[in-house]
Homo-oligomer: 269 residues x 2
């Protein structure tokens, strides 16, 4: 029988809340807390190291196959009471499944065959971040590089919005966006600065077959000038309506689509 | 001097909360409540009928030019105390500007020159709805048709996420999605059922120049079978990653992009 946790003052419970609440603490520990049967089992199936699994008795009955997948990756499991689950949860109707995971390593070299990358500079909204990672996964983007003051991809909101894509899309981090862009240029990438400027090159004019990185900026203020200058070319999504209406997640979706569309050789037009 | 409201029990305050909380009440009254200097002035500038403007003293000093635009469209204005503004607000740091607006008429005939439409069936999430309307506006989609059990585009969350696009994009409503699709077919539209099915026609194969409506379904379950059957063709966004990872807002963005891209005659590929 797993050990039972019934107190909010339990050390593991306190640790998990700290991990949920503080990006700085997550970075320091290189750990994060995940919630939900599907998300936790996604983490396990993606090969992340899991430290602890926590679940309620009800969740034990309901999510057996998910829990089995998590158990295989976790050295420790705990039963938690319903009130502790409610205390730990960021949602109104918690499923009662939680785990503590190790972040996958970042700073890895890019996959040698990488042809399509997304670079985000200073993206602030965790829901946007999660949505963008989901889209990157669906479209088969080879990696996402988070630069500057991007929000943390392992916050509860970003994890939830990413639907586990954060575990599967190769993620890299760099504090210095212009320097990261210059390294991509040197590695043979065409780096596309996404700007809402009708005089920039339309994204429909991308040439096929070359390694390409789309660089997308902050939700409110866009790319910094330094990063724009570091990029090989300024590109824009031709719009008929108000430019400000295309939000960062939609812009990133269309840019990633155009990169992979060009890569796949979109037919029929 | 405008009349001052300092009580939460004021009839107008109660009316506004009711409008914010209940989609049924909004439908019955054909009115909604909007919050925020920019959003309220967007409503006024878009030609909506405004019944009342409410603002705090602080907002009066800070948002003068926005308030002037709203005043021109509003027959009545009220000063509200800070506590009443906090009570009315759906946000943590309220700007202190509110108005009560009449919904624009729906059920209008489509613009005769309409060439690109988006049809949503059973879209449930107001943030998705707002984001989709924003993208529709940016890309110059001619109209959006909300079908079946779509969430209300005038809820506080949808209004906020749409950044006012809800006032500017022609919006129509229909309870019966398959019937609406059949009417579009009869009007000469190619209706595209968006499905995550690799055997469907790739969206990259769209032919140019024909009036086209993209039909997008519920976030979890997609389009109903009846609606799929009513459409002229089943189309899909070719994906390399996990199909389930492309969420409804991202799918709709890519479909609308492809429609307008084809319309504009995307060059360079």
């Amino acid at each position: 029988m797993p050990v039972e946790i019934t107190s909010r003052k339990n050390d593991l419970v306190k640790e998990m809340l700290h991990l949920s609440d503080s990006a700085a603490y997550r970075r320091e520990k290189r750990m994060f807390a995940a919630e939900g049967a599907r998300l936790c089992s996604d983490a396990a199936r993606s090969g992340l190291r899991i430290d602890s699994l926590l679940y309620t008795g009800r969740a034990g009955e309901k999510y057996g196959s998910y829990l089995d997948a998590i158990r295989k990756a976790s050295p420790a499991e705990y039963l938690v009471s319903q009130p502790v689950a409610a205390y730990l949860s960021g949602t109104r109707s918690p499923q009662g499944v939680f785990c503590v995971c190790a972040m996958p390593e970042t700073g890895r070299p890019l996959p040698a065959a990488a042809k399509t990358l997304l670079v985000l500079e200073d993206m602030q909204d965790p829901a946007n971040m999660g949505a963008v990672l989901r889209t990157a996964e669906a479209l088969g983007i080879d990696g996402v590089l988070l630069c500057g003051s991007c929000c943390d991809a392992y916050s509860p909101k970003a994890l939830r919005a990413s639907m586990g894509a954060v575990f599967r899309v190769p993620l890299l981090r760099s504090d210095d966006a212009p320097a990261a862009v210059r390294r991509l240029n040197e590695a043979g990438f065409t780096t596309l600065a996404a700007v809402p400027d009708p005089s920039a090159v339309p994204v429909t004019s991308l040439r096929r077959g070359r390694p390409t990185a789309a660089v997308v900026g902050n939700e409110g203020s866009g790319l910094t000038r330094e990063t724009q200058r570091a990029c090989s070319v300024r590109v824009t999504i031709p719009m008929r309506g108000r430019a400000e209406s295309l939000n960062a997640a939609a812009s990133a979706a269309i840019l990633m689509w155009e990169m992979t569309r060009a890569e796949a050789g979109g037919e029929g037009l």
